[in-house]
Amino acid sequence: MGLLTFSGGIHPYDGKDLSKDKEIRDYLPKGDCVYPLSQHIGAPAVPLVKKGDPVLVGQKIAEAAGFVSANIHSGVSGKVKAIEPRLTVGGTRVNSIVIENDGKFEEMDFSANIRQLDQLYREDVKDMIREAGIVGMGGAGFPTHVKLTPKNEDAIDTIIVNGAECEPYLTSDYRRMLEVPAKIVTGLMIVMNLFDNASGIIAVEDNKPEAIRILKKMTKDMDNITVNPVKTKYPQGAERQLIYANTGRKLNSSMLPADVGCIVHNIDTIVAIYNAVIEGRPLFERIVTVTGDAVKDTANFRVRVGTNARELIDAVGGFVVEAPEKIIFGGPMMGKAMFSLDVPLVKGSSALLCMKKDPVARSKPSNCIRCGRCAEVCPGKVLPYKLAELANKGDLEGFVRMEGMECCECGCCSYVCPAKRHLTQTIAGTRKQVLANRKR
């Protein structure tokens, strides 16, 4: 039997050797920290502090505005300098709380939050997770407590921890699996205990044998947790592909994982759940990989959310070139190109990838030769060349009829296109247009 996997996908150069052996190091911010009130899916959080207020590490500085929203906690001690629009990586200015860092990192007393596990009700656990401001840390930023509150709780039978880390260059999840496997397993058990019928799967790409070995050893006496090696292939860690590889269940763009009885959590999210429930610590840290051929050294940092991205570049000794052509916030397949380093790291920031050369700028799109490579690699089984053609014609109806809305924007089609056409970009733009029209 072959490894668990899905049909389609690509095998790009993974670049993980650059940083996979670098142990997680703490990085404490030197300068001010900036907390955009909207760094999750849902309503922006509402500030609880005002200019001049003193703040401690772990203090809740903004509160969720509604159910689909998330609390925000400070990662530094100091005082509130301003609440004003600040530049974020998306290029927009987002209302943010700016905290003047006093460099003391005085923490709140988290022990007050700790409660005996056996005295906890499920609702208490969910409350603790919600209170800790945990959101999906793989990048999407969907509030975790919402994910944990499906319509039909009895139907949830599989909790999947996403340790695929299929994006090239990223090694933050890998380091977590090597360094704190017990927290991952315990975090998974916390989530499984929220549901009557749930068993757990930790899915790891088979290019991380050491992580698989450690997790297997740790779970060998547990009947309801399995460690599944999955084939190394991008986008193995995409939610729909991961669920299919591990359970054989398929979901389309209009379904949620809970519709097929699954809940999927990123590794860092699971660790955050552990920290919140066992240690009483809210989410104010995450792991960020700093890598690429343009930095002097690579690193996996545990950083405080809100840290200025430039500080991490300085922390690895700066660039080897005067100016890298491209810096990516996240991985090379789905990350965002940065036009300024002066943006805060948020809960969903997984990496800073600095590239000396930008291959995209060097490739000029030419005519589609209909080679069909895009269709072969598409995990959504749509015809990207056709969708891009319809999109360029402005035929939105045809675009939807040809299942353009099923695209997950993984980038495989653009990656593989020999004519270097910007298929993903064209399709993603058109999807946004269709969604905007629907809202109207």
Binding site: R240, I327, Y415, P418
Partner: protein, 312 residues
């Protein structure tokens, strides 16, 4: 330094394969058969190939120059068309034949419809069909070792026996590039292994054709005649057509199911043309007809999106 950072939409990495790289590999896969053709038929055949390639590149450059468009001869698609066209010509044609053929292939079939990727039929085959109809005599006169003779398929059509071994190695009359079956199959396998060509079209094309020929042999009283089958597989343009012309990206279906339908259709059509048609050969017309049906085939073979299979 901020201004020097490049901004673009994800993904930020690209595969190394390019259009030019693909064309190069197809040309490389054709070379053994072409070189054998030159060895088999002599210097004139080499000149026909060269004239054809040079003219295809030249007409493309000239057309784009005159219309003020970007030059695309660097993608090597024109060179490939020239090579294919030359390989589809009899070895002794006068040089004006490849010149006219190149003009028709590049200007009429390819550029007038919008250039690479937009043509509705294979340019080299379109030109061959055009030449065949316009200059039938010159396009169907084959000689071997300076003796004018019939091709093996024509010999079979007349009811005579042929030498299958010679057909396999290519020491027979025919067009410059079609005779050496072994070189063409090797080239085709190379393309499939390299992932340039998908196996579906050649396998279903040749498979369907072989099955029908076998059935015909059995039911027409020849019995289970292997040499009749081999002669049909290795004679004429089937190997060149199935591996190199039917698989032309632009003029074949992209969908996996469409490729199967296309292959089966071509196999059946080639069988009908060869066995029941007036001419001994049928590969080029079958492929051209198939090319015209590609939009329709693609329309009915759109794969179901992931997770949407149960939809009506």
């Amino acid at each position: 330094m901020e201004q020097t950072m490049k901004i673009s939409s994800s993904p930020h990495i690209r595969d190394r394969e390019t259009t030019q790289g693909i064309m190069k590999q197809v040309i490389a896969a054709l070379l053994p058969a072409a070189i054998f053709g030159i060895y088999n038929f002599g210097a004139h055949a080499a000149l026909v190939l060269i004239v054809s390639i040079v003219c295809c590149i030249g007409f493309e450059a000239l057309f784009q120059r005159l219309l003020g468009r970007d030059l695309t001869i660097g993608d090597l698609s024109a060179a490939l068309t020239g090579l294919l066209l030359g390989m589809n010509l009899p070895p002794e044609v006068p040089f004006w034949i490849p010149v006219i053929g190149s003009f028709f292939a590049i200007v009429v079939v390819k550029q007038l419809f919008g250039g690479l990727g937009q043509n509705f039929m294979n340019p080299a085959l379109g030109a061959r069909a055009f030449l065949l109809i316009s200059f039938t005599g010159r396009m169907t006169s084959f000689s071997y070792d300076a003796v004018t003779t019939a091709t093996p398929l024509a010999v079979m059509k007349a009811g005579d026996k042929v030498d299958v071994k010679a057909m396999f190695f290519g020491t027979i009359p025919g067009t410059i590039g079609e005779t050496c079956a072994v070189a063409l199959v090797l080239g085709g396998v190379f393309l499939i292994v390299r992932g340039i060509v998908n196996y579906r079209i050649p396998v279903y094309y040749i498979g369907t054709f072989a099955l029908l020929v076998m059935l015909y042999a059995i039911f027409s009283g020849r019995g289970f005649d292997i040499s009749f089958l081999m002669a049909h597989l290795f004679g004429g343009g089937l190997m060149l057509g199935a591996f190199f012309m039917a698989t032309d990206y632009v003029t074949s279906p992209v969908t996996p199911a469409g490729r199967i339908v296309f292959g089966v259709f071509l196999g059946a059509l080639t069988f009908v043309f060869r066995i029941f048609g007036a001419s001994a050969e049928g590969v080029s017309y079958a492929i051209i007809l198939g090319n015209l049906l590609v939009p329709l085939i693609e329309r009915v073979t759109v794969p179901k999106a992931f997770g949407r299979e149960e939809r009506k």
